[in-house]
């Protein structure tokens, strides 16, 4: 008797399409602006006091979420830069170099404590000025900045333990130029190790996000740091160039684009200036079929949408093993829908404002390039605020290795998804980039993790996690992502000469 075979039922996807249009609304939960004070105008912080710029010029800094002016800051010209470098040199020769290391340490500890005390205010200003969600500035940027000062403070009187068989000497005056994506945190990353190792500082924050660095200047003043040890001056590219080219600067520490990094490297040729360059990236984030997929998807989302994707180490290239690609892409799209885009000061917000109009234009330019190159775009259906610079979280599938969205740094909430079959193939693809800042791998198999983390040419490799930072953990790139390390024991060396 013939057995009637049951007609196979179409295979159901094992993911459930979540409906986000029903009961997923959050009530607004805005952080109050009243806990922060922003002056109408800021001068330059030189030699421990606020000085009017020689240029007599000021420029506006705006809130990118509202396109409203927050304050205006001084535009430092060459004369101002010179004043700051002279102040830093004097402070180095007369005070800082001679001060017992343990006293130096206590100043830095003091700064760390004051950043903690003013954490709420700093977080609010960071979100106002830069557009990042208050959840991130409150829980990540500000505490990590304070911790960075605290960590390096302790190193000041222990340097002889860091480099076996060598004595250490500070370099002198460090010129430091930082970007707009983590304004306060980058200031901490630069200033803390420089001071701990006995150098003095001229720091320039980015022109779109100067306010928390200026708040930090107030803290430094309040901490009674000897005048001139830290000078904070504001301005745009020309100000930065004046710092780089100043003959009495011994060290350039720069975080920013690879293009500008190369300009700096050329500019300091023929001088004895040392440099640390922390530049762009196009990190590969790799998901193997045996990975815990929900965790991986969460990690990928955090990897690319953290801080609106304005992260040099963002996981902007996703490589998914073919066998799970469909499932992962489906989960990613679902998760994309649930991201809350909007007011940076709202505590529910996942994705805040794009930092500036020009950056928004860059991102749109790349989205159009991606479409033109034949990749498939998918963006969240979320509504964007009527005013301000916002961008929907976006992903591209069917991306080719040679596509510009897979090769070039976009610095925005745009993920390029590619697929692979074998370990060797994905290593080849992941390393096929002039950058080498960070990388990620997701798999449940321990030996595979170490195989991959070893072979990926990047300075920071996250396995089954992504975008984690810590003061004790060295950060910095391979290849065209720059050189030198920031953080940890290895972050000391860029500010020291080793002597026999």
């Amino acid at each position: 008797m013939a057995v009637k075979t049951k007609k196979a039922t179409p295979k159901k996807s094992n993911t459930i399409k979540l409906k986000f249009d029903t009961s997923w609304d959050y009530s607004p939960a805005p952080e109050s602006k009243s806990a922060a004070t922003i002056n109408k105008q800021y001068d330059l912080f030189i030699n421990g006091e606020w000085q009017k710029p020689a240029s007599k010029k000021y420029f506006d800094t705006i809130n990118p979420a509202k396109e409203e002016k927050l304050s205006e800051v001084a535009d430092a010209n060459e004369a101002d830069v010179n004043k700051a470098v002279v102040a830093a040199r004097n402070a180095y020769e007369k005070v800082w170099k001679k001060m017992p290391a343990k006293e130096r340490a206590k100043y830095i500890f003091r700064i760390a404590r004051m950043v903690q005390e003013k954490a709420r205010e700093l977080a609010i200003i960071e979100s106002l000025d830069g557009g990042k969600p208050i959840r991130e500035s409150r829980d990540f940027d500000v505490p990590t900045a304070a911790n960075h000062f605290f960590y390096y403070a302790g190193w000041a009187d222990k340097l002889e333990y860091a480099f076996p068989n060598r004595r250490t000497e500070p370099l002198g005056v460090a010129g430091q130029i930082i970007p707009w994506n983590f304004p306060l945190l980058m200031a901490a990353w630069k200033i803390a190790p420089a001071l701990a190792t006995g150098n003095t500082v001229v720091l320039k924050p980015a022109e779109t996000t100067p306010l928390t660095a200026l708040k930090l200047a107030e803290i430094i003043q309040e901490a009674d740091l000897p005048p001139g040890v830290v000078n904070i001056i504001t301005g745009a590219g020309a100000t930065g160039a004046a710092i780089v080219n100043h003959p009495d600067v011994n060290k350039i520490a720069f975080t920013g684009s690879t293009d500008v990094g190369k300009i700096i490297q050329r500019a300091i040729a023929g001088t004895s200036k040392k440099a640390t360059l922390e530049l762009g990236g196009k990190a590969a984030n790799i998901i193997f079929e045996d990975a815990p997929l929900d965790q991986a998807v969460e990690g990928v989302i955090n990897g690319i949408f953290f801080n609106q994707g304005h992260v040099c180490c963002a996981g902007s290239r996703l490589y998914v093993q073919e066998s799970v690609a469909k499932q992962v892409i489906r989960k990613l799209k679902d998760r994309l829908e649930s991201l809350i885009v909007g007011d940076p000061l709202d505590k529910n917000t996942d994705i805040g404002a794009i930092n500036s109009r020009s950056q928004l234009e860059t991102i749109h330019k790349y989205i159009n390039i991606g479409k033109k190159e034949g990749a498939e775009m998918y963006e969240s259906s979320c509504r964007l605020p009527g005013k301000g610079f916002f961008c929907r979280p976006t992903l591209f599938t069917n991306v080719a290795q040679s596509n510009r969205i897979a090769q070039e740094e976009i610095f925005g909430p745009v993920l390029a998804i590619l697929t692979f079959r074998t370990d060797d193939e994905v290593i080849e693809k992941a390393n096929n980039s002039p950058y080498g800042l960070s990388a990620g791998v997701w798999t449940d198999k321990g030996s595979k993790i170490f195989n991959m983390t070893k072979r990926m040419r990047a300075g920071v490799v996250w396995a089954n996690t992504f975008n984690k930072f810590d003061p004790t953990s060295p950060f910095g790139g391979y290849k065209e992502s720059g050189f030198g390390r920031e953080g940890g024991l290895h972050g000391l060396l860029p500010y020291l000469n080793l002597v026999n």
Partner: protein
């Protein structure tokens, strides 16, 4: 019938038979070639130059390497990176030690060449001895510097986090012009001890030892391509040593400020790491240290979560 040797027409010397009254045995001259990918080709350019010693004696017809030779050498060096860096550190250690053994065995030849290049016997002996000892020194470091310069970083979150040095890749080296053997060995050894591969331009005026050193390398189980040695002019080739997009780091040992400026400028092309070892006395202890190894290392930091189940205790 018994063959008799007429002593009147033949003399027997230690070296064998020689015709009476013949001129002394003709010396076999060595062709000094370059060393790429474990082979000894001539320069593709077909060019040569003739370095002379202080007395004006011609040393040899030496290959005048071209940009193309350099590029070929980089291809060989790049091809050797994954194999060499993938070797166990202990294995690299043994190979460097083997290099020292081979050099020790050919001491006389190196001393002879150094003397041809204007050294005195005493100085040449000292230089060769130091070169051998330097290889032994770095052989010992191969599997130790990582322990010294690594860190387990006590991050505040629940992660295991560690930083280790890794070779940067292909290193282009313009060797010291003066100490043609000791300088050469002192710059090559730390680069390869750390797992990098290299392309080295020998001393222009004193190239003999460099080529003979390639023969030492060739018989030391050092895989082809790990060290590639060119002869030629730094003034011609320096620019390509920093311009090449597939070179990760460049080392230059002369105190020529124009060249240094040019090199640092061009190093920006692909942000290769650049080092000037122009104030180092290779005869002293300052000429050797694990910090030389660290110059051509990158620090990689790896993170992994540590499961943190609520209420779990410390285990002790």
């Amino acid at each position: 019938m018994e063959k008799t040797i007429k002593k009147s027409s033949l003399t027997i010397s230690e070296n064998g038979l020689e015709k009476k009254n013949a001129s002394r045995r003709l010396e076999v001259l060595k062709t000094y070639k370059i060393y790429i990918g474990g082979q000894f080709p001539r320069t593709e350019s077909g060019r040569y130059y003739i370095p002379t010693n202080a007395a004006g004696k011609k040393l040899a017809n030496v290959c005048l390497s071209s940009r193309k030779d350099f590029r070929d050498a980089v291809v060989a060096a790049r091809g050797a990176v994954s194999g060499w860096s993938g070797r166990a550190a202990f294995n690299r250690s043994q190979i460097l030690y083997r290099m020292a053994e081979m050099l020790e065995g050919r001491k006389a030849q190196f001393i002879d060449e150094l003397i041809q290049q204007d050294s005195t016997k005493a100085k040449a002996e000292k230089e060769v001895n130091l070169a051998i000892d330097r290889l032994i020194y770095y052989a010992g470091w191969c599997d130790k510097f990582q322990q010294l310069f690594s860190a387990v970083n006590p991050v505040a979150s629940s992660h295991f986090n560690f930083s280790v040095p890794e070779p940067t890749g292909v290193v282009a080296v313009i060797a010291p012009q003066g100490d043609s053997l000791l300088g050469l060995v002192s710059v090559i050894a730390p680069v390869i001890a750390g797992g990098n591969t290299c392309v080295v331009l020998a001393s222009e005026t004193k190239p003999l030892c460099a080529v003979t050193f390639a023969e030492v390398l060739n018989s030391s189980d050092l895989p082809g391509g790990v060290v590639n040695i060119l002869t030629g002019k730094p003034s011609e080739l320096a620019t390509w040593f920093v311009d090449h997009m597939d070179v990760n780091a460049t080392i230059y040992c002369e105190n020529n400020s124009d060249t240094q400026k040019m090199m640092r400028e061009k190093s920006a092309t692909n942000l290769k790491r650049i080092f000037f070892y122009d104030k180092i006395n290779w005869y002293t202890d300052e000429g050797q240290s694990p910090y030389f190894i660290m110059d051509t290392q990158e620090i990689k930091t790896t993170w992994h979560p540590v499961e943190n189940i609520a209420g779990a205790g410390g285990g002790y």
